[in-house]
């Protein structure tokens, strides 16, 4: 491996990333991933609607569930969009759509690309970030992200069998584990944000209190629709607070 990727006239030595990164063929593969997810979503929705009646959920319940998921993901989706746009110059639109927007997440993919570029002796986005480095970073990110999918494909059936066996031997455990795992995950994710920055900790508190208030109101007023909007409102209020507090303290 050459430590000087910018060596004269070698193929891939150009730093014109967009020429490679926005090529039509990459667009086709990116749209292919979108198409696969749309197909999966359609199959899952149909399967859930078919199964609903057997467990006492009618179409109205399931539509409410669908709408709640859609509304509550508007805020997070727009946040991903804003961060993704900022990375367009580094990776080109197709790679950003697939790696940042879909399969991966901002922090993991940027870290992967930084590590991969570093392994070739280049800085991500620096003067020696050539087409070669971009291509290698893109492959490394994709292989790394692929490992999550491969692990999911291999481990899910095994864990499913384990779960079924546990449910037979010990139904009490299966009644307890999903809720406890959920609480454990979000308690840790929440507490982990507290020591990162003072304003971050206050933002967590704002988000927490707004949600608590909204859930309380939804219960008192018996307003189911409010539960649909609760997460979206909490995120917007907390982010707006963070924006003004951040710009006020930095400026």
């Amino acid at each position: 491996m050459s430590s000087t990727p910018a060596a004269a006239a070698a193929s891939g030595a150009s730093t014109d990333i967009a020429a490679v990164a926005n090529s039509p063929i990459l667009w086709i593969f990116a749209l292919g991933v979108f198409a696969v997810i749309f197909v999966q979503t359609a199959i899952y929705m149909k399967a859930a609607r078919t199964a609903g009646t057997s467990v006492g959920l009618d179409n109205r319940d399931l539509t409410r569930a669908l709408r709640s998921g859609a509304i509550s993901s508007v805020g997070p989706s727009l946040a991903v969009v804003i961060v993704a746009i900022a990375l367009l110059a580094l990776f080109g639109t197709p790679a950003v759509l697939v790696r940042i927007g879909l399969i991966g997440s901002v922090s993991t993919e940027v870290a992967s690309a930084t590590i991969a570029s570093g392994a070739l002796g280049a800085d991500l986005g620096g003067p020696d970030y050539t087409q070669t480095v971009y291509a290698v970073a893109f492959i490394a990110m994709s292989l790394s992200g692929g490992a999550w999918m491969l692990a999911t494909l291999l481990l899910t059936p095994i864990m499913k069998r384990g779960g079924n066996k546990l449910a037979e031997v010990n139904p009490a455990a299966m009644a307890l584990i999903p809720g406890a795992a959920l609480l454990g995950a979000f308690s840790t994710l929440t507490v982990a944000e507290l020591p990162k920055s003072g304003l971050g900790a206050i933002t967590v508190a704002v988000s927490t209190f707004v949600m608590a208030g909204l859930l309380f109101a939804a219960k008192k007023l018996n307003a189911g629709w409010l539960k649909e909007w609760a997460l979206g409102i909490s995120i917007i209020v907390a982010l707006t607070f963070a924006y003004f507090a951040h710009t006020a303290t930095v400026a």
Binding site: S23, V33, F38, V39, Q40, T41, Y44, A47, A48, G52, S54, D61, G69, A70, S73, P76, S77, A79, I82, V83, A84, I85, L88, T93, V96, L97, G101, I103, T108, A119, A135, S144, A147, W148, L150, T152, M159, L176, G179, A180, A181, L182, L183, A185, F186, S187, T188, L189, S197, V204, V206, S207, T208, M211, G224, L231, A238, L239, A242, T247
Partner: protein, 231 residues
């Protein structure tokens, strides 16, 4: 609408069969197509990539991330269930978008996480999130991305990057507590999180990225041994 855990009725068995077959097939297709793009660049676009480059770069990345590719699916399986696993790990953005959407959907129709109703609500919630997410990505990044790049002030991008997670997790935790509605596991999870974040990780920095997994395992184990027993 009830949220009791019952024996699997025929309708749910058909759901499990359909989603495990098509979930796996679509995920495999997603895996192959997502690798095809970069491989095409490397093999056919004359950008000077060698096998040695790829091995060097991937080894460095795998040294950091390979273990999480195994730990994360194991961590989230008890929460997501089989069907949603094939959605979540293809669509990505799990803790900041898909799990919140699933919990919101369960809370909307008062279904308990882990129950049959909860599984269906989670799948529908994730479907709703997927539709919004794919559409907003296609429109705002795919079509208008380059234009928006110059239109969005840097301060907005910075705040979105730094504070989106704090803005989400607090609210989702409240929703999760309300939806599980069991005092002991709630208190145990909070105590476990404080111990993991403020004692275990500062003492053993190598565990930094394992925080969530540690929190989940500790909460499940302690909740099990401290459960109310029907003597």
């Amino acid at each position: 609408m009830t949220s009791t855990i019952t024996d699997s009725p025929a309708g749910m068995q058909a759901f499990e069969r359909t989603t495990s077959r098509w979930g796996r097939l679509t995920m495999l297709a997603g895996l192959i197509i997502s690798l095809a793009g970069p491989l095409y660049v490397a093999l056919f676009m004359d950008v000077g990539v060698t096998v040695a480059h790829i091995v060097t770069a991937y080894t460095a990345v795998a040294a950091t991330f390979l273990v999480f590719a195994v730990v994360e699916p194991v961590t989230y399986f008890p929460i997501l269930g089989q069907a949603a696993m094939y959605q979540a790990f293809m669509i990505g953005n799990i803790s900041n978008k898909l799990l919140p959407a699933a919990i919101c959907a369960q809370s909307r129709i008062d279904a308990k996480p882990g129950s049959k109703q909860g599984d269906l609500a989670a799948v529908m919630g994730i479907c709703g999130a997927a539709i919004v997410h794919l559409t907003s990505l296609l429109v705002f990044v795919g079509i208008f991305g380059t234009w928006l790049l110059s239109a969005i002030p840097e301060s907005v991008t910075e705040v979105a990057r730094m504070y989106i997670l704090p803005a989400i997790v607090g609210a989702v935790l409240v929703q999760a507590i309300a939806s599980v509605n069991q005092l002991r596991p709630t208190l145990i999870s909070l105590a476990a999180a404080v111990v993991v974040v403020f004692a275990v990780i500062p003492a053993v920095p190598a565990l930094t990225h394992f925080g969530t997994a540690l929190g989940v395992v500790a909460t499940v184990l302690v909740s099990w041994f401290a459960r109310k027993r029907a003597c």
